[in-house]
Point group: C2
């Protein structure tokens, strides 16, 4: 690791050492470019410290009955953080500047001011500035709820053990994963979601299947409502719909993410931004030349793999502007590691609903009705696919069920390469893998939409499909 | 269901009502064709009765601690068998002839003689004959081993409970799956394999990873040896390498499959056959026009999904000979539902070894070294890919690890559509899905083999890959 040298002009000043920032810093350093990486907190960002890494570790510890699940989770988290810090140190063209960055103006080279913990200000000059400042949990005030009982993902993994009873506010990925973990650990778990359903950005069939699965595990799900008041004498959450949740030990706020814009002084540099964050395109470009934004701070993606994917493109755009971009950007899937898992890929549901229904087709298969669902006594699971009606090209696919985050890769590869359900017809999956459900959807689509084939062929397909679907 | 009418000529006489035969019978019936389905045993064949269905049910019951795992397995198996029998009955162009078929001569229409349980012989005339007679477990005599302690997959699921101690002879899929189940049920489990490694048709790295995983679970693995003698006083299995396995309650023979040729009288019809079974091509064609063979009886595939896949092609070839076969046959993957799972797809290892090593490249990634491996405390897992050196086209892929049978679908789709690792470069997988390992292999290949790209780009990639691989 290099010491910061205020006299040089870096190739890039990277603001934030999370998933997006590390991709940029290490990527550009790999080209031999000097990079200033500006981070006031821990290297690794939310993912390593308070996000995907500890959440997956806690899910694993909870599922397998590990002694001291929180201690184990913290140990895993700390180990990975230390490893990333050491790894950063090995890059001798990266200078880590441990403070809080703010933009100054549109000068080229750009000048970033860094407020250091000791109150001093350090200047960083760079050809490019990459804003990868991340996000923080959005907060709301709940009448009567004491600070001592309020957690977010930033505090959750510091617990010593599972609370007796926990209420999650919000029904998104963090809430769903941690509900699974806490339910496994023996906590009484409730979810309170303002929208009419959990995981509201997904297809209603996805939300419904997941709701049934979690309800079966005694997770209380309250939708279309909110905590109106918390009685801190009886520790009762009073919901707007009149429901009371008694004996609540902690409330976890997981209502969404806010981009960390406050210290950046985006306006000084004239950078366009909105409620979701810095406005940036699929390559990380902002409205100001030479200033880029990647990851949660843009709101375009709110995942580690999303920040990493866009970050890789930004590295390429900065370091190799001459390399032609032969293919369009690849599609970025989503996953929730609840039990059952949820995963999806493709156009947002809202975009699909804008397509005339005559031009699209929705197919789904209940995983309970598959042979594997039968041998494994599955209670709830579904695959939903939206396709172009005439081509079978996949617009969106979503899965609730075992290994959903792995299965979604079949659809991701299909979308990236323009492989529709008709081309997937006849693809062979091992019996009785869950993936066979995808083969059945391809059968069903092909049966319905091959009017050019003799009617008899359709009849044959119907025989096979009904047999396979019925099981 | 129709009653058999000896006076009519069926479109097809299908010999055997297992996975292949049912695909043919139901497929052709879907076209309105009269079909005679000849089966002396239970409808559903090995898969439903003594194969994939009860094995997956037992694996599930064992893993989840179901009370009475064998009773539950039998109940699932019986339910599915009954369902298939009812379903067959609904097809009014299928006549089920419950006896044992034998071919007669090359006459057209072909005449199949059926030996009925009452000693009578029934004749079936058909334009096409499809041989889908299946296979049975190969048997060897072990000196001193009493019949009462000898099981195969045909008897295994009739047990009342797990034996105290079980030795599997053979280290293939059946043995590996049932070792997993019995170990979960508390049996002391050993595997004795004649070859130098278990799952000998796979890449050595696959066998090795699986061996380590099973050994960690206290499954004794003895390779390159065999049971020379069984002492039926002390119940000790004496191995050829001098090892003794004490206190053996049952020995399960799982050394491979033998095609059920003995009743068929293939020579009467002049049908070519060998040690593996009836000689047939990828569409089920034998050397005799109008006589087809599908599934285990051919030895070409020994799986339900393989019989189903070839069976679908045979249906198409019989019913729609005029429909052009626009694409070549799709690739058929394999899976073993042991824990960890194993799956593979593509050219056999032996075929790959014939390709000059300068024209191919083997890449692998240890799943333990991935982020998910770290959060989930994985002990053993690997992905191995053989590709064409210059194109990155996938020759074979194999996986040991969580959800291997699902993950393999990404490679299956890639092979079916000619998508090599270079085209997979930049494909996004959810963090931290196991599928990310596939992304890392694509990175590694692209890094190594893109000499046309500027050297700096390779340097960038190296940075990212080393970071991702190291974790």
């Amino acid at each position: 690791m290099a010491a910061h040298d205020p006299s040089i002009t870096y190739k890039a000043a990277v603001i934030g050492a999370g998933s997006g920032g590390l991709t940029l810093a290490i990527g550009l350093a790999g080209f031999g470019h000097p990079v200033a990486l500006i981070e006031g907190g821990d290297v690794g960002g939310d993912c390593t410290n308070v996000g995907c890494v500890p959440s997956k570790a806690l899910l694993h510890a909870a599922r397998t009955g590990t002694d001291d699940p929180f201690g184990w989770t913290q140990q895993r988290r700390n180990h990975l953080r230390d490893e990333e810090t050491v790894e950063m140190a090995e890059h001798d063209t990266i200078a880590l500047v441990q403070g809080w960055a703010r933009l100054t103006d549109r000068r080229d080279p750009h000048v970033v001011a860094v407020d250091m913990p000791d109150g001093s200000v350090v200047e960083v000059r760079a050809e490019h500035v990459v804003i990868s400042a991340g996000s923080r949990p959005a907060r709301i005030d709940i009448d009567g709820l004491p600070e001592s009982r309020t957690l977010t993902n930033e505090e959750l993994f510091e617990l010593d053990g599972p609370p007796r009873s926990v209420v999650f506010v919000g029904g998104g990925p963090i809430s769903l994963e941690m509900s699974t973990a806490f339910a496994d650990l023996g906590s009484r778990v409730s979810i309170v979601e303002l929208e009419e359903r959990i995981l509201a950005q997904e297809d209603p069939l996805i939300s419904d299947t997941l709701t049934r699965a979690l309800t079966d595990r005694d997770i209380g799900i309250h939708t279309g409502t909110t905590i109106e008041r918390f009685d801190n004498v009886t520790n009762t959450a009073m919901l707007a719909d009149g429901t009371q949740i008694d004996d609540v030990e902690v409330v976890v706020l997981a209502i969404g993410r806010q981009p960390k814009l406050d210290r950046l002084d985006l306006d000084a540099a004239g950078i366009e931004h909105g409620r979701r964050g810095v406005v940036a395109d699929d390559w990380g470009r902002t409205n100001v030349d030479g200033i880029w934004a990647v990851g949660d701070v843009t709101g375009n993606t709110l995942t580690t793999h999303g920040a990493n994917a866009i970050g890789r493109r930004t590295v390429q755009a900065i370091a190799l502007p001459q390399v032609p971009k032969v293919r369009g950007p690849k599609v970025i899937p989503n996953a929730v590691y609840s039990r059952p898992e949820v995963a999806s890929v493709g156009l947002p549901v809202a975009e699909i609903e804008k397509i005339p229904s005559s031009a699209r087709r929705r197919l789904s298969i209940d995983l309970v009705d598959t042979d594997r669902g039968f041998t494994d006594d599955l209670d709830h699971g579904v695959v939903v696919v939206d396709v172009e009606r005439f081509t079978g090209n996949i617009l969106r696919a979503a899965i609730v069920g075992p290994a959903a985050a792995e299965l979604i890769g079949i659809f991701t590869l299909a979308i990236d390469n323009g492989i529709g359900l008709r081309k997937m017809f006849g693809m062979v999956h091992p019996y009785p893998a869950w993936a066979q459900a995808i083969g059945k959807l391809a059968d069903e689509f092909t049966l319905e939409t091959l009017p050019a084939l003799p009617r008899e062929f359709a009849a044959m397909m119907r025989g096979r499909v009904s047999r396979q679907l019925r099981r």
